[in-house]
Amino acid sequence: MSTPVIGAAAAKPVANELPADYKRIYVWEFPVRLFHWVTALSIAMLCVTGFLIGHPLHAFYAAEAYQQYWFGWMRFVHFASAFVLVAVSLVRLYWAFRGNQYASWRNFIPLTGAQWKSIWELITVEVLQIKKYGRYHVGHNAMAAFSYFILFLAFLFQTVTGLALYSNMSDARLTHVFNWVVPLMGGDANVRFWHHAVLWIFVLFIIVHVYLVFYDDYVEGGGEMSAMVSGWKFKRDKRED
């Protein structure tokens, strides 16, 4: 047997002990999982340090400046996490063309009618909860995938504006690629302003994303959370009995 079947042998249906056949599917390949967790960590770091850079805490006291360097470290962590994020994003971008069907870039941009239909269905079933049953999605559903695409655009914006701001402190060639952004946006002050404002997109995303993962597990029972660790998902087969 190639796909392990779980619970097929249960004898008598009792409430809460229903027999069902599940198929095990390998959905999230290693690069995708790695990207997910590295991104999660670096975004968390970037949000916290980014917010603190905008609003320095009045938490550490020293008599003289040479005794501490916490704001400097804060900025260091911010810059380091940013470079990590850029690196894993490039890997993920490559994997969007190279990985399995669930990782493909096609998922993320709703170009087909089917994707839009699925988005509509999700709005009625999961968001507004007007309808009770929806289709089960093994990979990303069309709406989630689209939201990741928006998030990717936010990444891109933060990378470009962030590197543009960073370039005046650095001799590295890479950071000077985006120098043109500063005059375009009307000076460093504006770039910094928008870089800070877009931080909130990530905060909102985290709230909704974390909630929905719990929701998905809670309602669908698809093992969404463990899947991002193991890569496996379970799909309920049609029952044959």
Binding site: P13, H58, N168, G187, A189, Y211
Partner: protein, 361 residues
């Protein structure tokens, strides 16, 4: 005309010694090393005095005021003696038709050789009626004057980026010079620019006869290549996270970093913390006031000045991106909570239905 700089200095009574002093100072200001003083000397012995016209449009004359306070006495005196400042509305003795004639003569006699210094922005709305001189619009004067100029320098933020007249909503369509003139313009922003920086730029033009190296937006790199923040003496406090929290607190007295008081040093390119003002006496941050970023484009629109984050466009003075972000965040949390309640209601009925189905089978 035709007189060399050295000849004109002799006429004014300068000694050879003073001339050499001037040459070395000019070389230093232009960023040359000691070995090239000889080059400067020979240039000043052979070059003719450049004709200069100083135009004033929408401005407050603070750039002129700053310029005449440059700290190196030899250099600034000589500059005023040496260059033939043939036209400047503020300082010239001539007036009326005489003044107009001086301008047109200069342009005619020095085709391709004179330097134009522009102070102020040019309003382009309604055919330029907001700034008329001698019955002509600022823009038409600018075009005539710059057409045959050897070099154009835009003094101050008005001429470089519009400054206060160009602030939203910019009723007169105040336009910086480089957008109107189709030849390279040296932008020397600041409200006003530092006197010694202005002197440095002019000296560079005189000594080397060429433009200083400019950055992407036309500012001389030697003075605008670094942020105020990078050369600020309070920077160690910034890195240590020691900030002034209120204007009159203990931290302010200790001279901590003014970042939280809205200091724009981190986003402002200028030489204030190096060159300083009033003969190197001080600069805003040294006096306990944050930088307001007066040499940056649109700095008036990044209000309020005493707050780190500017207010969010369209949401009133009090709301920064953070207050809006936090509000939207809370609304999202509330939405999520409501959705969770709804979900539980639905899940209950789903479970019941499934069980009924199973029981039926």
């Amino acid at each position: 005309m035709g007189q060399t700089i050295w000849q004109s200095m002799q006429q004014k009574g300068y000694s050879r010694r003073e001339f050499l002093q001037f040459c070395s100072a000019a070389a230093v200001i232009a960023g040359l090393d000691k070995s090239s003083v000889g080059q400067v000397v020979s240039a000043f012995e052979t070059q003719s005095r450049p004709a200069v016209v100083w135009m004033h449009f929408q401005e407050c004359t603070c750039c002129s005021e700053s310029f005449i306070r440059a700290s190196h006495p030899t250099v600034i005196d000589v500059l005023f003696d040496v260059i033939s400042l043939n036209y400047t509305e503020t300082l010239m003795a001539a007036s009326g038709f005489q003044a107009e004639k001086s301008l047109s003569d200069t342009i005619r006699d020095n085709k391709g050789k004179y330097i134009v210094l522009v102070e102020g922005s040019v309003p382009t709305a309604e055919d330029g009626v907001y700034c008329m001189i001698g019955g002509k619009s600022g823009e038409s004067i600018l075009q005539t004057v710059t057409a045959d100029a050897a070099a154009v320098i835009a003094w101050g933020s008005c001429a470089s980026n519009g400054c206060v007249q160009g602030a939203k909503p910019n009723p007169t369509s105040a336009t910086p010079i480089h957008k109107l003139v189709d030849k390279p313009v040296i932008n020397v922003p600041g409200c006003p620019p530092i006197a010694d920086v202005m002197m440095g730029v002019v000296t560079h033009l005189l000594v080397l006869g060429q433009m200083p190296e400019l950055d992407d937006i036309g500012r001389p790199k030697e003075f605008y290549g670094r942020r105020v923040h990078d050369t600020c003496y309070r920077r160690p406090n910034y890195d240590a996270g020691l900030f002034v929290e209120a204007w009159d607190d203990e931290n302010a007295r200790k001279g901590y970093c003014l970042y939280k008081m809205g200091c724009r040093g981190p986003v402002t390119y200028n030489a204030c913390s190096v060159v300083k003002w009033n003969e190197g006496t001080s600069y805003p941050i040294q006096s306990g006031h944050g930088c307001i970023g007066c040499s940056e484009a649109g700095f008036w629109d990044n209000e309020p000045f005493y707050q780190h984050l500017p207010s969010f466009p369209g949401f009133g003075i009090e709301s920064t991106a953070d207050t809006i972000g936090a509000t939207v965040g809370l609304v999202t949390l509330a939405g999520v909570a409501a959705h969770a309640v709804l979900t539980n209601v639905r899940k209950k009925s789903v479970i019941e239905e499934e069980h009924q189905d199973d029981q039926k089978e």
